[in-house]
Amino acid sequence: MATGTTSVLARPLKPLGGLFAMSLDTLQAMFKRPFQWREAILQMWFIIRVSIVPTLLVMLGFTLLVIFEVNLLLKDLGALDLSGGIAGIASIQQIGPFVTVVVVAGAGGTAICADLGARTIREEIDAMMVLGIDPIQRLVVPRVIAMVVVAQVLNFIIGAGGLIGGYFFSVYLQGATPGAYVDSIPLFTGPAELIFSMVKALVFGIIAALIACYRGLTVSGGSKGVGDAVNQAVVITITVLVPVSLTITIVQFAVL
């Protein structure tokens, strides 16, 4: 009976504890010399390569759809001059970071998790540990750094792309005035909002990389193991990041 209750509690709590333990190890290993520059840069290139096409397509579908539909609302209110302000809110403050979440977790996270999971079941990680190489320092730290950098880059691409795409949508398809579009952008979005957007991307990158690495390094159980691990990594990341995004948004409104 007693063992029954512990195992019910232990099943969700053990991985959580493991994730936090690995995060602490990563933090500690981050300042250990030598830093793996080569691996970090290769990983950045790898993550950018797998996520640039989804980024552009998701941005096209998500940011532009929001701008399109908000413009319908503004048109009805007779306030189409504000379309630039809405595009700023959409692409810099809310949807941009949201798209970053989706892409960072769905593209970067899955790729990292599949890569590390494959290495784990081929026992390459065990071999590294036997050779006295710390997989956290050698593999996890460069990936976390790479993911953070890539998340920032993607966030900028999405922000800029959303504003430019929103211009074409609002001006050419929905009849907003070009000057009014550009003028109304700073109405809702300034440097402080941009900094919060960057903070969001930073936090998302760290969380997504840690969850993907953790699930990749703890793969077990036959042929289904890696596939399930990748699936769980992306589900967990998105489920965690959406409330995190809400929290940062509310902090932002309280501060600004």
Partner: protein
């Protein structure tokens, strides 16, 4: 040596777009076969279909631990609705119309955040799990075994899953919508104190029932795309257990892109000439 590598490069430049085209054609053929085998599947594999519906709704394996895909989809749309409500309130009180925030919440949650986030959540929960499942069947040669026993694997494994996804989406979408609206209510009434009466007045005044039907059509289109892409990548997985992980990653990437594009096109088709929103009546 030099001209050999040059000719190899030339060959690669010529063949790589052709290979891409080839892969696209193969995917198209696969989807065509799925659609073609729908009637036969409905006739013959009702039991398997029912089992899959239950599995997708409740979730299998580790997903079931947290309440299945329903809870995950619901929680994602809940928090997305909360973000929409918070941003709506802050932006509208910026220009002095904070009490109109429920209007914005009704508009954004029903039209945008619920269908979009439900599509993303579907891709990563039900979709990726399907790829992982079918992929591991492929590499452990279970699919070949089915074919040897003359069970048509396409119908038995793929078409049933696409159909099950289409059936499961209706209750899931209702649940997701309610979660989003609940978040609007909680954030605006309890966090920002806009008043419950004000909320229900503006919320129900501008919550157009047709928007919810349109969003449902969007979600149906997305689920067809998600299930087709994910079953394709699972069915064509190869290269051992590591290959299944790769296939899951690739399927998530392409279905996320596909979902967004389909959603944009469907929304533009539905809303462009037929705006259900009328502030002035």
């Amino acid at each position: 040596m030099a001209d050999r590598s040059a000719s190899a490069t030339l060959l690669r430049v010529v063949t790589s777009p052709l290979k891409t085209l080839d892969a696209l054609g193969e995917q198209g053929l696969f989807y065509g076969r799925v659609v073609g085998s729908v009637p036969a599947t409905l006739r013959r594999y009702k039991k398997e279909l029912l089992r899959l519906i239950a599995e997708m709704g409740m979730g299998a394996g580790a997903l079931a631990l947290v309440g299945g895909s329903a809870v995950i989809v619901g929680s994602i749309t809940f928090f997305a609705g909360a973000v929409a409500a918070a941003q709506g309130f802050e932006s509208s009180s910026n220009i002095g119309v904070g009490s109109l925030a429920p209007l914005l919440a009704a508009y954004f949650t029903a039209r945008l955040s619920t269908p979009l986030l439900a599509g993303v959540a579907l891709a990563v929960t039900i979709g990726a799990a399907t790829t992982s499942q079918i992929g591991s069947m492929r590499i452990s040669e279970e699919i070949d075994a089915l074919e040897v026993m003359s069970v048509p694997s396409m119908r038995y494994l793929v078409t049933t899953r696409v159909l099950a996804g289409l059936i499961v989406i209706t209750p899931l979408y209702i649940f997701a919508s309610l979660a989003g609206f609940l978040a609007d209510y909680l954030i605006l009434v309890f966090f920002y104190d806009t008043g419950a009466g004000n909320f229900s007045h503006y919320f129900f005044l501008y919550l157009s029932p047709l928007d919810i039907v349109f969003a449902y059509i969007q979600v149906i289109a997305m689920v067809i795309v998600v299930m087709s892409i994910h079953t394709y990548y699972g069915y064509t997985a190869g290269g051992g257990p590591a290959g299944v992980g790769e296939a899951v990653g690739r399927s998530v990437r392409s279905s996320l892109s596909g979902v967004m594009i389909v959603n944009l096109l469907v929304a533009m088709a539905l809303y462009a000439n037929f705006n259900t929103f009328h502030l002035a009546g």
